[in-house]
């Protein structure tokens, strides 16, 4: 454990980018937790006479079409955006890793059927699948999460399956089995934890990707419900005002969204360095 920490510290020192990214992620998570309490205005309270004001001392990021404070909305949106990304990714990770691990472990008919299913999913134009799912189930937050989770699923299944497959006949697995562990225990307690670190990289990258995915859905009108503050929907709405010079409506939420995605992506890269030093040097 100490060795891991030391290694982590060493990588972070040698890699300022990852350090900055970790710091950024930490700030984001903090904002997600305390955000709603520290904002200067109620993020959903309208003030129509004060609509579409450029940034000022009272409204740092200006106001939107309904006179709502953009700064408060950007901060308040952190929680929802991170929640969508985190739940979608953990859902597909939990399901995908489990299914993949069992398939890789047992092989045989189950493996073939799941493989077929994954093939079908992979052959789908995935973004269109997400659109169709949200359109079919309604644009509630949980449906956006499910849609994002489903389109991530095949990657996790494949990854976990491949990783478990190469390990299932290794000596320590045989040993675990020989010492009386059931197959389920072998998979859950020995094999899964073993492939977990490799998947962590993917998780971090996917977090950023899930945020982008939700933003794309918002742009097409399939995002979360108004007046809930969410970066994607704010960017999509703000984009309508670009040509009329109301830049603050797209720039601030856009910057927040970019920062979040950037942090998770760089963090994913950094994790790869920590877990698998060979990949980089």
């Amino acid at each position: 454990m100490i060795a891991v920490l030391r290694h982590t510290g060493w990588v972070l020192r040698g890699n300022p980018v990852t350090m900055v990214a970790s710091f950024g992620a930490l700030v984001l998570i903090t904002l997600a937790i305390v955000g709603p309490w520290i904002v200067p205005y109620d993020p959903t309270a309208s003030n129509v006479p004060n609509a579409l004001m450029p940034p000022s001392a009272a409204h740092w990021f200006g106001t939107d079409q309904l006179g709502r404070d953009v700064f408060s909305r950007v901060i308040a949106a952190t929680r929802l955006d991170l929640a969508i990304a985190a739940s979608a990714v953990s859902l597909s990770f939990a399901l995908g890793a489990m299914i993949g691990a069992f398939c890789g472990y047992t092989g045989g008919r189950l493996d073939r059927w799941v493989g077929r299913f994954v093939d079908v999913l992979m052959a789908f134009p995935l973004f269109v699948l997400a659109m169709a799912m949200v359109a079919a189930l309604g644009n509630r937050v949980e449906n956006i999460i499910y849609a994002t989770a489903i389109i991530n699923l095949p990657f996790y299944i494949r990854f976990a399956r491949a990783e478990v497959n190469v390990r299932r006949n290794s000596g320590w697995v045989e040993a675990a089995r020989a010492s009386g562990n059931s197959h389920v225990r072998v998979v859950m307690l020995f094999l899964l934890p073993n492939v977990l670190p490799a998947m962590a990289v993917q998780i971090s990258l996917n977090l950023g990707w899930a945020i982008l995915n939700a933003a794309g859905l918002s742009f097409l009108g399939l995002g979360v419900k108004p007046p809930t503050p969410e970066w994607g929907i704010m960017v999509a709405e703000g984009a309508r005002f670009i040509t009329t010079g109301k830049w603050w409506l797209v720039v601030f939420p856009g910057a927040a969204l970019m920062t979040a995605v950037l942090c998770f992506n760089l963090l994913g890269d950094g994790l790869r360095d920590i877990l698998d030093p060979r990949m980089r040097t």
């Binding site: 040698g14 890699n15 980018v17 077929r116 299913f117 093939d119 079908v120 992979m122 052959a123 789908f124 134009p125 995935l126 973004f127 269109v128 659109m131 169709a132 799912m133 359109a135 079919a136 309604g138 950023g208 982008l212 933003a215 794309g216 742009f219 097409l220 009108g221 994607g232 960017v235 999509a236 984009a239 670009i242 040509t243 797209v250 856009g254 969204l257 970019m258 995605v261 950037l262 992506n265 760089l266 890269d269 990949m279 980089r280 040097t281």
Partner: protein, 343 residues
């Protein structure tokens, strides 16, 4: 000769083994579309005075008055005969629509992929030659930044900057300047058609229209391509044969660009296949922003109006292309590295 035969056999096997997946895609899409809560008949009957009679009429016209299993059988039979139904949104047979729109999407995706490769390969190689250096980190930042901007935002910003403010890009309204003559359709790829017809004005016009949307897409896929180039280049550079080459006194440049690169490109090829399929399906945002008459925006419009046939046709098309691209990658792989086909 033996190589060709083995590749052909491999390809044949791949095609056959992908048929069940395609079939699954067809069934799944069909059912998914039936789950959509909108009733297309009602949507399309929404003229100022549409009543129950018109709605019934459209329902019949779309074959929706029959039970779902029967609809599915009819649909499968139609697919077998190459008929994908008729789009209510455009009033045309889906096959006609897809055939006329697919080249637009393919051309855009190809050009975007080319652009991305032209940038990603040198960047990836540079980064691999000096791992953890300043250059490596800069490359990493550039690529990661590209992935962080939603394509609809970068697209709109490009339009705002290059068309609206600077006025150097053409109006973002489709594949060719609407006042320029369209070259005669041969392949549907405007760049090729214009070149064949020798109509260089049209070629320039089409190319100008392509630049912004292609850049938007390229920016987004730069990262995976550059990252993979870097990783596989790193792996190759530390391998025995490169060290042998250097020991034998070959120039560094020759070793890197000829021997190492050739071997490092194989994994990049695989990633390219995946990137291409994803781009083709996911460029709906870019197509919307640039009014690009491609298949993805066609499918989106149909989806929002619960127009079943075009969405089903689109998904089937995408799945087929996915299979074909994988096949091509496979064959290329086999050509580049004959050892693989022996296994």
């Amino acid at each position: 000769m033996g190589l060709a035969v083995s590749i052909a056999r491999r390809a044949g096997k791949r095609v056959v083994s992908s048929l069940p997946a395609l079939f699954g895609v067809v069934i799944f899409t069909f059912l998914l579309m039936r789950v959509l809560p909108g009733d297309p008949a009602i949507f399309f009957a929404s003229g100022p005075n549409a009543g129950q009679a018109e709605i019934e009429q459209i329902r019949q016209q779309m074959g929706l008055d029959k039970p779902v299993p029967q609809q599915l059988l009819l649909y499968l039979r139609d697919i077998g005969t190459g008929n994908l139904g008729r789009s209510m949104t455009t009033g045309q047979p889906v096959v006609t629509d897809l055939v006329s729109r697919l080249p637009a999407s393919l051309e855009l995706t190809f050009v975007a992929l080319m652009l991305a490769l032209i940038l990603a390969l040198p960047l990836g190689i540079l980064a691999a030659l000096r791992p953890n250096s300043l250059i490596d980190n800069i490359v990493r930042m550039i690529c990661t930044l590209g992935v962080c901007v939603p394509t609809f935002v970068s697209g709109l910003l490009f339009i705002f900057a290059f068309y609206y403010i600077l006025g150097i890009a053409p109006d973002p309204t489709g594949r060719i300047d609407i006042f320029a003559g369209q070259p005669p359709t041969i392949t549907g790829f405007l760049l090729i058609d214009a070149a064949v017809a020798g109509d260089w004005d049209a070629w320039r016009s089409a190319a100008r229209q392509l630049i912004l949307p292609a850049c938007t897409m390229a920016l987004f896929v730069l990262a995976p391509l550059a990252r993979m180039t870097r990783a596989s280049m790193l792996a190759v550079l530390t391998s025995d044969f490169v060290r042998t080459g250097e020991a034998l006194g070959l120039s560094r440049r020759r070793v890197v660009l000829v021997y190492a690169l050739r071997n490092a490109l194989l994994p990049v090829l695989t990633i390219m296949g995946i990137v291409f399929s994803t781009m083709l399906g996911a460029n709906v945002l870019v197509e919307k922003v640039f009014s690009w008459p491609g298949v993805a925006s066609y499918a989106l419009d149909a989806l929002l109006s619960s127009d079943y046939a075009p969405v089903q046709g689109f998904v089937l098309l995408m799945a087929t292309i996915f299979v074909m691209v994988n096949l091509t990658v496979d064959v290329l792989y086999g050509l580049a590295d004959p050892r693989i086909s022996i296994e």
